[in-house]
Structure formats: C-alpha cells, structure tokens
Symmetry: C2
Subunit: 215 residues, 2 copies
DNA sequence: CGAGCTTGTTGACAGAGCGCCAACAGTGAT
DNA sequence: ATCACTGTTGGCGCTCTGTCAACAAGCTCG
C-alpha cells in the first residue's frame, strides 16, 4: 500500500493487448471450470510442481482469477482433494444378507471398483500428493477415511455406535486397503484377485478376533 | 537468543555487519550440525513450512552455506528422511525359535518399540511430511518400507527368495502397521495393547491364509 | 614470527511463485 | 443509449530459493 499511492495514469503509452478471452461466465461455471483443470493437474503432478500459473493457463484465464475464486493455492487444493475423494456412497442396502464372509467380500469388491475407476487421481489425493502434514489437508483426508471406516463397520454389522477404539481399528484397516490398492495399481506387484483375497481375509480376521476386544 | 547478534561494536564506519560467527569448522562437523538442525525442524513442521532460512538461522550460519553443503532444499530433506527412517536393524537372530505366534508377537513388539521411541520424527518422515508424490522422496521411503517388509517376511520364515507378490503383501502389511501406529501415537484412539493385538492377529491371518496363495 | 595459500563462510543478486489490488470491460437494467 | 454491476485482467510487492564472487580463518612455509 505504501508505495503505490499513484492511482491512475499508468499511462500514456501503455497499450493493453486486445484481450479476446475476456469472456464473461457465470461464477459457478467459471469456478467449476477452473476446479476441473486443477483436479486434472493435481492428479498428474504433486502439489509443489503445480503452480497457479499452470492452472490459470490451462483454464485460459488470468492467474488473478484463480485467487479470486479460491483465495489461496492451498484452498484450491483442498477443494481438489474433496472432489477427488468424494466417492459414491456405498450402497449398504445392496450388501447381501449372508454371513460375514459374504458381506466382507461384497464391500471389498465395491471398494476396489471405486478405486480402480479413479485410479491415479484417487491415489494422488489419498496420499495428499505433496501436502501431507498440513493440518487442513490432513483433516479433509481424515474425513474421507472416516467415511470409509464407517462403511466398513456398518457392513460388518458393528456400525451401531462404535467406540473410538473400534473406529481407530477400522481406519487402520482402510489404511491397509489404500496401501494394498497402491501395490496393485501403481507398482503392479499384486493382481486384483490377490488384493481381494488379502483384504477379505484380513477383514474377517479382524472382525472375528480383534474387534471384539475393543470395548 | 541463539544468534545473539550484537558484537562488541568494533569499527565504526564499516557498513558490513561485523561477522562474528565466521567460525571455521571441519566440513563433516558443519554438515552434521546443519543436518541435525534440519532433522529437528522437519520433524516439527511439514516441508513447505520449513525454509532454508530457518535451518540456517537455527544452525547459526549463512543460508548460502546450507546450499553449499546440501545443494538443494529437497536434497537436504532427502538426507533428513534417510536419517529419520534409519532404524536399528531388527535383531532377527534374537527372535524366539517358537511357533509363528511367538515370532509374530516378537517382531510386532520390536516394531512398536522403534516407532514409539522416535514417534514424531518417524511419523513425519514415513508420511513424507509435505513431499509425498515426489519421485526421489517416495523412493527413499519405499526403500525403508522394503526393509521393514523383508524383516516381516524373514521373521515369519518366508524370507528366502519371496516373490514380488509376497513382497507386495508384506509392504501392504507395513502400511497398515504405520497407520495403526498413527492411530496410537497421534490420535490416541488405540492403546499399545490394542495395536499389538491387531497387528499380531492380522499378521498371523496373513501368514496362514493369504501368503500361501502368493505364488 | 610474518607472508601466502587453502578453503570454509558470507552477503548480495537474480529468478520464480504467490497474494493482493485497482482499473478494465462484458452484461443486463433503466 | 446510458448506467450500474461485477466478472476479469495485468501488474506490484513480498517471500523463498539457487548461485556466485569476495572475504577471512587457520595452516604451512620461509
């Protein structure tokens, strides 16, 4: 503020380049457009390697507009992570009424379907590509993990008012699920069948032998 | 503070700040000193929130010296992560000769000892505090996970030439172990006993029912 | 014991990225 | 057609990073 007291008259010879792309859009539409570009870029490269200049250029707008809609680069990234992790609610009512084995098998299959569909962007988001440790980012991810953990508990019939310990165990299981998915989708060390078997077997073992010990 | 700047006001006219701290150190000693400061700072805050200026100030040296010894901020961070994840080799020979249950119990206990001892810095490193997604950082972490996974396989008697699938499963288990440790040390949702039970039971289930299916 | 050399160390410079702001220019209402 | 409204732009200042030539501390040699 101090310096630029001079308001007008920037002046004289400054011929502004004829701005063609000054097309006016509905705020929601513009915001959505910028967000979609950001989702793509943050899915390809980690956080520090994506500049707001990149987002603005790919969206065909000025960089200032990105800040106008999202405030901060970090806030933009938070929106991106929310979008990436927003996943169709598990159709719990569609889970078979069979025994624990069938229900575990069904929810694991549903999880693998979701993950494989979004693959890269989902993995980039769940690992907080380049922003893990930030409180806000961690919270958004933690909320997504909580949703997944609750689905697990509900599917295994323990969803009714689980204690904090039980939820912690479910979150740990979700953590293993994401690591296993990475071994499958990123490293190619496992096949989908192997992942499915591992997650189902482990879930059953936890339901039978570990969960009961959680008051 | 540490920097304690005001010198004995030597010469008058000298515009140059009287440099007192130009103390000369052996390269190895200086490097070690800067590295220890960096380990502390990166253990407290995520990557983007630690500037090389902070490291230099806390180490009592000029910022340029940090770059002189470590080249880049990222290279410095790589050294830090290596230090944080370098962990005493598991004394496999000390594992009991008993059945799988005893051996699993022993290695899980050893893992929890190591993690709880380094707690914050270890967790910050294993989650790549703010640098996940970077190829180099990910590789350093992947190597540490590989070491842990091999320890698991060795302890369970499967260490002799495991296939890629088996190693992938072991890495997934290590991933769950880190997530579980976080639930214990960071969120406080689980007690050490609960973590121990969860990891032991899960490991046994995997050894008995999942690993055999990995060709 | 002083001159000179080696090299650890410093401060400054240039480039890049980000947040902010005032002016500009489409768009609909009067 | 004029005017108000607001979406949009381009540039300013700041912080942070990597590089570099100059400085000086400590050792060696005469």
């Amino acid at each position: 503020m101090s310096s630029a007291g001079t308001p007008p008259a920037p002046a004289a010879g400054a011929l502004r380049p004829p701005v063609i792309r000054g097309r006016r859009l509905e705020p929601d539409a513009r915001r959505e457009q910028i967000l979609s570009v950001a989702v793509r870029l943050f899915g390809e490269r980690p956080y520090p390697e994506v500049s707001t200049t990149d987002v603005a250029r790919d969206a065909g707008v000025a960089r200032g507009l990105v800040n106008h809609y999202f405030g901060t680069k970090k806030e933009l990234y938070l929106e991106v992570v929310r979008v990436m992790l927003t996943v169709p609610e598990v159709a719990l009512s569609l889970l078979p009424d069979g025994g624990p084995a069938e229900r575990a098998d069904a929810i694991v299959g549903w999880f693998l379907d979701v993950v494989s569909r979004h693959s890269t962007s989902w993995l980039a988001a769940i690992t907080a590509g380049g922003m893990a440790g930030d409180p806000d980012v961690d919270q958004v991810i933690a909320e997504a993990v909580d949703v997944a953990a609750d689905s697990i508990l509900t599917a295994t019939g323990l969803g009714a008012d689980p204690g904090e310990a039980l939820r912690g165990m479910a979150r740990a299981y979700v953590g293993m699920a994401t690591c296993t998915a990475r071994e499958w989708l990123q490293r190619g060390a496992l096949t989908r069948e192997q992942v499915h078997t591992l997650l189902t077997t482990t879930l059953l073992a936890m339901v039978e032998k570990v969960f009961p010990q959680a008051t």
